[in-house]
Amino acid sequence: MKEKLSELKETVARLLKDRTVDFFIAYQAGHSQVEPIPFFLTTAEHVENLFLNNFCAHNLSKYLLDYLAGDEVVGVLAKGCDLRALKRLLTDHRVERGRVFVVGLPCIGIYDRKKVQEVYPAGLVEVVEEGEEVILRGETGDKRVPRKEYLLPRCLTCPDHNPEFYDLLLGEKVANGPLAEEDYSDVRALEEWAPGERRRYWTRQFERCLRCYACRNVCPACNCRVCCFDVAEPRWLGKGTSLDEQEMFHFTRAMHVAGRCTGCGECERVCPVNIPLMKLNKKLAKDIGALFHVPQAEIPTEVEPLGQFRLGDPDEFN
């Protein structure tokens, strides 16, 4: 991905210079190689600080919600997954297509910073891809590891290595097709447990929750004008943290994105205390697929699965 940096610089400089966009959202270098951070460019001079590598995980299109009030045209760099997130915002009529200029970025996978840091807590210089393997090149030498094991979970089952639509594509399209089939094995494993075991499992997860709302704030499906957790009246959720409030939060969050979740896993990636939020989202995605025949890859749908029905839906309630 790094090799596209110069093309990105040229492109963004041009877009800013000819006022195609008022500002552009991409990445800049962070504290280390494995943590690039979002970058808001307002002038062409800023492009010198652009950064691109295969740790650029952030979905930048969520930031578009911060600019609804104005009339700026916002340029945004979008991988396939980010584009699905943008499609979510467009489908939900939160963002106008005309106010976004999408620079598409073909992508064959983003590496999971946490996993890489287990090998290299610090001092990683770069990541070199070699077929099924990847070389983690650090100050203290190279480590050759299986590529699949170090990718973000979403990248394994990613159906969109190339963004579905864009105003401009960076570089050539790459070969498409997921590296692995989504088999929901982690969800199925949990379903096999005894109810009491599952209860203990989720209790432990929810008790750890800080209610920092990072999972909500990063989620492209959480795009309500006012979140139900932020209204004082009616009070859906108390400020106090107890297991029941934490569980209410997670249950509600999961239900509110049911059938709308794009499966990007950003919620889980940003969670500071490793709550497996995708195990909730995927459970719902799996059931929605099985019950209503809407597979995850088709979401966002024009009308969300819970906003419609079929007369022939399964009926087990009699």
């Binding site: 949990l190 379903e191 109810p195 009491g196 075991e197 599952r198 209860r199 203990r200 499992y201 989720w202 209790t203 008790e207 750890r208 800080l210 859906w236 108390g238 106090g240 943290t241 107890s242 297991l243 029941d244 409030e245 934490q246 569980e247 209410m248 249950f251 509600t252 999961a254 239900m255 049911a258 909730l280 459970k283 719902l284 059931d287 929605i288 019950l291 209503f292 699965p305 819970l306 906003g307 419609q308 029905f309 007369l311 839906d313 399964p314 009926d315 087990e316 309630f317 009699n318």
Partner: protein, 152 residues
């Protein structure tokens, strides 16, 4: 991080389950009424909350009911096709197919949460459903997700 709680045990001696029933105004509530006027006996464990349509029942209501001390929750609406608002209960059906599975996934015993279609003429069915749920929940014992873990 959670608030510290005292580990109070729950005594089951003389315990009777509390069951919350969300009943749609047009069918199930009328069904309950009919059970009453027809003098059909059913357990008094159920506390009915009347809602305009089963589609009004927010999944959060169900979880909150459990958290605030319910041992069982029933959502009852018109039979599919009979909704007073034409289609409300079709949405209910989709929604609660998921909710039921999600609650079970979170470790809540599935028989504690039930959805039933009960029409205004089905007084007997209402009584039977309430009796059946009460029996099942009694067999399960008090719900563990109770006030113990409340912020109170």
């Amino acid at each position: 991080m959670s608030v510290e709680r005292a580990g109070t045990g729950v005594s089951t001696a003389g315990w009777e389950p509390k069951i919350i029933g969300f009943c749609c105004n047009w069918c199930s509530y009328a069904g309950a009424d009919l059970a009453g006027t027809s003098r059909i006996p059913y357990p008094c464990n159920i506390r009915i909350i009347r809602v305009p349509c089963s589609g009004r029942v927010n999944p959060q209501f169900v979880l909150r009911a459990f958290q605030r001390g319910a041992d069982g929750v029933l959502v009852a609406g018109c039979h599919p096709g009979d909704c007073h608002y034409s289609t409300g209960n079709y949405f209910t059906r989709r929604r609660f197919l998921l909710v039921k599975r999600l609650l079970e996934y979170l470790g809540i015993e599935p028989r504690r949460f039930q959805v039933r279609w009960i029409s205004g003429s089905e007084g007997q069915k209402f009584a039977d459903v309430v009796a059946e749920i009460t029996e099942q929940v009694k067999a399960l014992g008090p719900a563990k997700m109770d006030k113990m873990r409340d912020v109170m």
